[in-house]
Symmetry: C2
């Protein structure tokens, strides 16, 4: 494979191992796995799940749902608060597949009840304590009002409670992840118990990659919806959701300039390839790490090398003294992304290590 | 126009006014204008330049050069350090158009000399003091060695010195921009004078939007290459390159949730639409500002409203108390982007206020 410009590579073996491991964890906990497909956004990778028996998925937009429906996925949760303006797309998909929606207000449910023409499942989005979206898990009155409004519509099956503990992305290590998981699980279990008599079939669906990757207590949860684990990335490795050797994507970037006076190498590869997510480590902003090149793929990050700045197409790489002279203009560096979801979304296609192009959803379509 | 999801709108009048103003400034200073097309990335907007007499442009990749070549642009500078791995694309384009390249090392020039098959123009990229890329403007020995190596190739026309004063993006107000401009201009004038006897025809090409928008002293410069000015954005308005009323793009985003307890509204519109660039203002990270809706388009930012967080598809908007209750789920908010180049790049298409779809380059192609 002749790489001449920033190219996102996928290590198929690592990716399939990540998928297998998550399926095995879900089985171990007797939890249904509904992988979120917003990270890989590809029917090819989706098929790797299907080959292992997964037939349901989550997505983050109705457009993405359509893309996967066109590839034969017929049981899809749109894990994003229902956008009532897209009622035509909702009805269109609901008429063809098992579509699950998320709501978090009576205002939305009233509109949904007005326009809905086909059966859908509906989850109540619960705030896991991350305070981005969702109903307060202790606001039983509001939750009950929404449940009643949903119940009044014969086209609606109330699926249960759904949350995304996005604050695990701020955690460090299994213990902190477990603490968040314990807190959010308790919230959901309380909720389920509170409404159990009136609504005995409600499920609990949890979503974040850190929890689903390392926590152990899923006894009372019914569904896992992690997405990022399929590729992982630097952020997840730093949180402790995975090892660096599990990171299944790397961007190859050509070296275009060297600045010995400041130990910097410039690569063709910038914000339009990686996105601008970053982590802070040892007081430094880090926009990516450079992995060791291997015979077929890449190894662990090289100590002391990091992406220190990204502009639109330029990446500025810090390289320690002792390594600087080995780098030549035209070399390809393998760079692990901070946030693989945003990186894959930007690149819109990737290649396996043996050079097969992997088609992706092009967003916005 | 029926907007149901995050949609990037272009105010054609504002955009054309920005173009006209920059052309008039270039004329006033007797400077050639070679607009950078990486912001709009569209043959439609490119045509608006052409209608006003502009026939040359700059781009940031060879792929983008091909896109504009296919739309009839035949005088293109790739304002990015030459990526020697793309020699096939260089030769392909050089055989068809007036192609200018940028180099900043002897290592690159040696490879260029080896593979080049058709005439090209070459600029020496000079570090404007931003310390991203470019040769040290006082390193006459290295610059001379590169000039000599370029001179030895009869296919190469040495065009001159090119710089991008990216540090004006950290400036506040005309005075700070002018100070940087004075410093970088002096560097370039010194360089030109130093080599004037041997190379009497070298040009000076300068690039950043702040300088080109507000500075006055372009007497000794030959070419301007600003790009962002075509749309402007919050960053440029805060720097002082433009007024908020000049910002020609806004993202319309549907409201999907409201959280009265924390004065937050959630819109469908996140990092995959805006990118994650931000500014810090009054101790807050700001990822976008909400503009006043007008009969046809939008007005200035509404005081107290701002995008406080972006995740993949969610935007979290802070809304002051007094306005909160007016907002309804399903409303469309008009959000000005922090960095219009990255936003447009993500969206891959935009619409004029009367609903015409504007085609863009899809990167990576």
């Amino acid at each position: 494979m002749d790489i001449t410009k920033p190219t996102l590579l996928l290590d198929e073996k690592k990716c399939k191992k990540n998928i297998e491991k998550m399926i095995s964890r879900a089985n171990q906990f007797n939890c249904s796995l509904r992988p979120h497909f917003k990270t890989h956004q590809s029917i090819v990778v989706a098929n790797w799940f299907r080959e292992l028996g997964i037939t349901q998925c989550a997505v983050s937009s109705l457009e993405m749902a359509k893309y996967f429906f066109n590839a034969g996925w017929t049981d899809i949760t749109v894990a994003f608060p229902l956008n009532i303006l897209e009622h035509t797309s909702v009805n269109d998909l609901a008429g063809k597949i098992k579509l699950n929606l998320c709501v978090e207000s009576l205002e939305t449910v009233k509109v949904l009840n007005d326009f809905l023409e086909h059966p859908v499942g509906v989850f109540l989005k619960i705030d896991a304590g991350y305070h981005r979206t969702g109903l307060d898990a202790e606001n039983f009155a509001e939750i009950e009002a929404i449940l009643k409004a949903l119940e009044s519509n014969h086209l609606i099956t109330i699926k249960g409670f759904l949350q995304h503990a996005g604050h695990t992305y701020q955690a460090k290590g299994k213990q902190e992840i477990d603490e968040i998981h314990a807190y959010t699980s308790k919230q959901m279990i309380n909720l389920k118990e509170h409404f159990n008599q009136q609504y005995p079939d409600l499920m609990i669906s949890n979503g974040d990659t850190p929890t689903c990757s390392v926590s152990d207590d899923f006894e009372h949860l019914d569904e896992m919806r992690p997405g990022n684990f399929v590729f992982y990335d630097i952020m997840q490795a730093e949180i402790g959701s995975c090892q660096y050797e599990d990171v299944a994507v790397a961007m190859t970037c050509p070296v275009v300039a060297k600045h010995a006076d400041r130990n910097e190498v410039i690569v063709y590869g910038g914000a339009v390839h990686f996105s601008k997510d970053r982590i802070e480590k040892d007081g430094k902003n880090i926009y990516g790490l450079i992995a060791d090149k291997k015979e077929n793929g890449w190894g662990n990050p090289i100590a002391g090398w990091f992406v220190k700045k990204l502009s639109q197409e330029h990446g500025t790489i810090h390289v320690p003294d002792e390594a600087f002279d080995q780098i030549k203009i035209g070399d390809l560096l393998y760079i692990l992304p901070i946030h693989s979801c945003l990186t894959a979304n930007l690149m819109s296609k990737y290649y396996t290590l043996d050079g097969h192009e992997i088609e992706m959803f092009r967003y916005p379509s």
